[in-house]
Symmetry: C2
Subunit: 336 residues, 2 copies
């Protein structure tokens, strides 16, 4: 194997593929000499895009894949049938050990299914959760699980808490991360049956820094570093973050354009405002890892541009160098 | 009985009781001659507050209640033991038919429990949902249930959809309101087991205008008028709305204060911005009805000021005049 951190990138996935995907991959290798990108997709169009840029040739390789899995395709069927698709071929590179990680802005379903079926779970991991970083008032928090496993059981949530702690500590760099479970009240006796069963398990788990329940209101304020929840709830949280943010921005713009006075003011506040609000955009944090697999599988937003792709590729470096999967394995099996 | 719409107001409930509660009640009777308010609470302090204002004497009555139920008290116990509390006495006024409606900014738990135990459910209603209005881009939507019944069953959600439709159509005035169920994808096969079981029931329900699934992202944009969900999810939605809004406002203010240029701009945009964002504040819509009870029970935000109290009292008028409970009864029993 090479010394690079090898990342298989689905060049055909997402709203802006292959243009933005190729561009993001090139940007990543241009800023970091430790990473090599395998662009998986239709050779012709991908090489056409690559011609636009200059980059260290040794750090980019194109792997041909003729098929594309559509966003709307039923994932299980798509993974089984489209053996020559960019998603299946890219995941196979991880399975075979050619690549350490996989990044895709394409079908979430196909990535979730393919990640489990092709790459496979770490021994002991019951369910791999999808765990995006979401912005908070002064930083980020890990939302785990946000869509991989609906109707999860308490034991799954405990594993999410452990895996999330490893990720926040060693990839994001938050020491002794505060773990909380999403609940509808701060008291221990509150909650639905899943939360009530999970709470004592988390409380008695010595490997994590469990701080109790967190109400949704306190998530944006930064009330915890690892936000544990069942996938349905997590998905609602992630998407509502986006939805409320988008409508508020629209309202603010509308408000600013409502009078001559405010229009002049808008010109003056715009640059400062843009920067502040960028920090509160969920898309800025790009890749959500599907934790607990034998390689790193990262799903980025379907609307990802080159910046998100670049960031997703670069986050694979810390993941490999910090040996995250070994650390997850240790933490998971400790109590088995 | 009198011709007034008689509203029992918990004068002791909420962060700003009794001052703001009394003030809101007075404001309500001063703008509408159809309503009479029964202020339930400690006679001394309440009358002390009343002295500050002028108002039509016939429209305000003070009902003494010596006890107060604390926000933190276990609700079932509190309702059972504190017979002379403002909440219990106010709810009893509704039970006895002296009042048509009840408004409180106090303990949510005590109002939910007391509403069911003291006022009682309409025949046929399995579980009464708490249903606040939340702001959307161009109006409001009804979020039902947002905290009364965790771990609800599909049949409960169908009743929520029916009751919510009646409320949106006849109290808020949205003709043929669009009903959607909160889900993690737009397709019918998506969802957790509760949603998957409920979806076909809603689809086959002729009394509502069911439009399918709604993703959380599309709620703020106004994708539906009646947002049906289980209480845990609804509570997360309501509180995250508040949380994201609050942090974004803070970020915006911070961004505007970051340079001299932006500070000057901020002065110019402030008035326009304030008005726009006020329309997107969940607290502005004040009272959440607990639907399906024999009288109208309204819970307003704990931090309610006089405006929210006034609005909550005034909303009771449409509720009574439109004969909402009769309409709910009809719709619920239609299929039993």
């Amino acid at each position: 194997m090479s010394d690079y951190v090898n990342v298989a990138v689905d060049a055909m996935g997402g709203d802006h593929a292959p243009e933005e995907i190729v561009r993001g991959a090139v940007e990543a290798v241009n800023v970091d000499s430790r990473v090599k990108v395998f662009l998986v997709g239709r050779k012709g169009p991908v090489e056409e895009e690559l011609k636009k840029y200059s980059y260290p040739q040794a750090q980019v390789e194109v792997v041909n894949a003729e098929e594309v899995i559509d966003m709307a395709e039923p994932p299980v069927m798509a993974i089984r049938r489209k053996k020559d698709s960019s998603i299946v071929k890219a995941l196979n590179l991880v399975r075979e050990g050619v690549c350490d990680a996989y990044v895709s802005a394409g079908s979430t379903g196909a990535t979730l299914v393919g990640g489990q079926v092709i790459v496979g779970r770490i021994k002991g991991v019951e369910r791999p959760p999808l765990a995006p970083l979401i912005p908070t008032e002064n930083g980020v928090a890990l939302l785990i699980d946000c869509g991989a496993n609906v109707d999860a059981r308490p034991s799954h949530l405990v594993q999410f808490a452990k895996m999330g702690s490893v990720y926040m500590e060693h990839v994001v760099g938050v020491k002794n991360p505060r773990v909380a479970i999403v609940n509808i009240g701060a008291e221990e006796e509150k909650g639905n049956s899943l939360v009530k069963e999970t709470f004592p398990l988390l409380k008695n788990c010595p490997e994590i820094n469990f701080t109790g329940s967190i109400e949704a209101r306190d998530i944006p304020a930064g009330g915890a570093d690892v936000i544990v929840c069942e996938a349905f709830t997590g998905n609602v949280i992630l998407k509502l973050y986006e939805g409320v943010g988008a409508v508020m921005m629209k309202k603010i713009k509308g408000g600013m354009m409502s009078s001559l006075r405010s229009k002049i003011g808008a010109l003056l506040v715009k640059p400062a405002l843009k920067q502040t609000l960028k920090a509160f955009d969920t898309k800025e944090y790009g890749g959500a890892p599907l934790l607990g697999l034998k390689g790193l599988v990262v799903k980025t937003h379907g609307s990802s541009g080159s910046v998100e792709i670049k960031n997703s590729v670069l986050q694979c470096i810390a993941f490999k160098e910090q040996n995250i999967n070994e650390k997850i394995k240790e933490k998971i099996t400790l109590e088995d």
